[in-house]
Symmetry: C2
Subunit: 332 residues, 2 copies
Amino acid sequence: MKNNIILVLFVCLLASCMQNKTQKEQIADPLPSWNDGTSKTTIIGYVRDVTNKESANYIPVEDRIAAFDNDGTLWCEQPMYIEMAYSLDMAKTIIADKPELAKKKELQDLVNKELFAKNPEKAILEAFALSHTGMSTDEFANNSIAWLDTAMNKHFKAKYTSLIYQPMVELLQYLRDNEFKTYIVSGGSSAFIRQVSQQLYGIPAEQVIGTMFKAEFVSKDGSYQVMYTPELWHNDDNVGKPVGIEQIIGKRPVLAFGNSDGDLQMLQWTTTNASYQYLCLLLHHTDGEREFAYDSLSSIGTLKNALIEANRKDWTVVDMKNDFKTVFSFQK
Amino acid sequence: MKNNIILVLFVCLLASCMQNKTQKEQIADPLPSWNDGTSKTTIIGYVRDVTNKESANYIPVEDRIAAFDNDGTLWCEQPMYIEMAYSLDMAKTIIADKPELAKKKELQDLVNKELFAKNPEKAILEAFALSHTGMSTDEFANNSIAWLDTAMNKHFKAKYTSLIYQPMVELLQYLRDNEFKTYIVSGGSSAFIRQVSQQLYGIPAEQVIGTMFKAEFVSKDGSYQVMYTPELWHNDDNVGKPVGIEQIIGKRPVLAFGNSDGDLQMLQWTTTNASYQYLCLLLHHTDGEREFAYDSLSSIGTLKNALIEANRKDWTVVDMKNDFKTVFSFQK
């Protein structure tokens, strides 16, 4: 009888320890690099609501799809998109190897950034085509990994790969802790972003959707390669984002996060989710000291129409200056 | 002192219970619908080896990508591909609604299966274009779900959705239990397969890669749709399979399973995995009683070159008649 009492006490003690642990976990701040305020409250309130089985807004795990833009949303896009910097560096290397190319006026304009000043979209696609195609998927991976390993952003005197927003890294982890599947849906190329998405954001290669060039399977003497051709296959920006999501995921996101007009259609598409409560977020770059302050007048990450629509539709506008306690971890 | 002994005994008992459970799990046959033999031994041996942390062949969880063909590998493709049956039924409905279409000779040939007899690939693409495009992704989903819910295969007098191979369903589950990520890589359309992949195979929509038509985002009066156009965007068969895998997954599979020459390049691509031990499998339809016996002479699921290569390269050829204890669960 006495032994039974001891057993019961032991089990109670064990249960109590487990409960304490759960309570502690709930109290710990899942987003320590976010200041307290409406944005943080909205995000945490949404996640708690849709993951609560008792809530009318409960979303089953398999439909917890969260889509994030990359440039300007997860990492810094100023003073130049990181992948554009890669493309220009590669273009210079390619031209140095082939002096006959260096003479071409349009390539000079491209590497001197004159084309970018005149027509950014054309410059990006030309630089991408030159640096991303006419090679195998393995060659592209090796080239881009080698560059990402060492290349520096001169403004911050920091490696490009360190220019990831600490609050966004925490948000991605918080969502995954709550069994969301986190995706990147980017105007950049999936081939490039994939090389670092796991390491920087905890997002595996197969959850990256981006711009893609047409590719071909080449079989030669019993060895096999997939080669990128210069023909654009999918431009994953603007209207391309909801299309990429439909073709590749085949489910509506319940949460989408962008920072520019290029993300507007992805956010609009998220609002068509008839089955579930959704959350649309827009990062407004308001911090000229720790990062850059820009919106409607910037040629990189132009934010005008999406901001108007966000205000009209009551989407959550995250204000970098006020909402981010830390921007980059190296600034702590 | 006495109480301490009881506590220790209690903990030992608990530990012993847990160990027994683990041992039982190990002893339970993970593939009960497979007969004992080389195929089953090879599969289980491979999975145990590459998931064993002590093994030189250990594969980290994030790289355990398994790619499965669908038609003829996961579900029956005879006497006609299931999606082709859907397309022909839909084509008849569309023509019935539009009498001016019924007069067209090429559409008559299509619905009468004459075109299929002459040129199967052309017939499939035409029937697909007619039944899959010129509508929104939501409309297509609704149409195909309604059909899959009721349509019957006349040969088996069974619903098409019951024509899934029980041993393959078990294999998919066994791989997922061992933390493989299971993908479908099919010549059929991802739009169609996605409607049932979770329910039939436990494979979520976002892990289905298939043939795709170009799609467009349409915004009208504040409502949004993604519309399929008749232009083919990706033909996920033959050389299209490794291309689809590279573009969408961005990782080499470590295990690939097909049944026809349309899977040859996917299997070849899997052998280029430089980092890990791979397993290539081919299902040979040898059972004319429980299913169909066919290979090199069949216009559906032609198997000739892939079988030659499988024998030459020592890939695992699964013999349906001898290796499958059960084919369909309704035949049990």
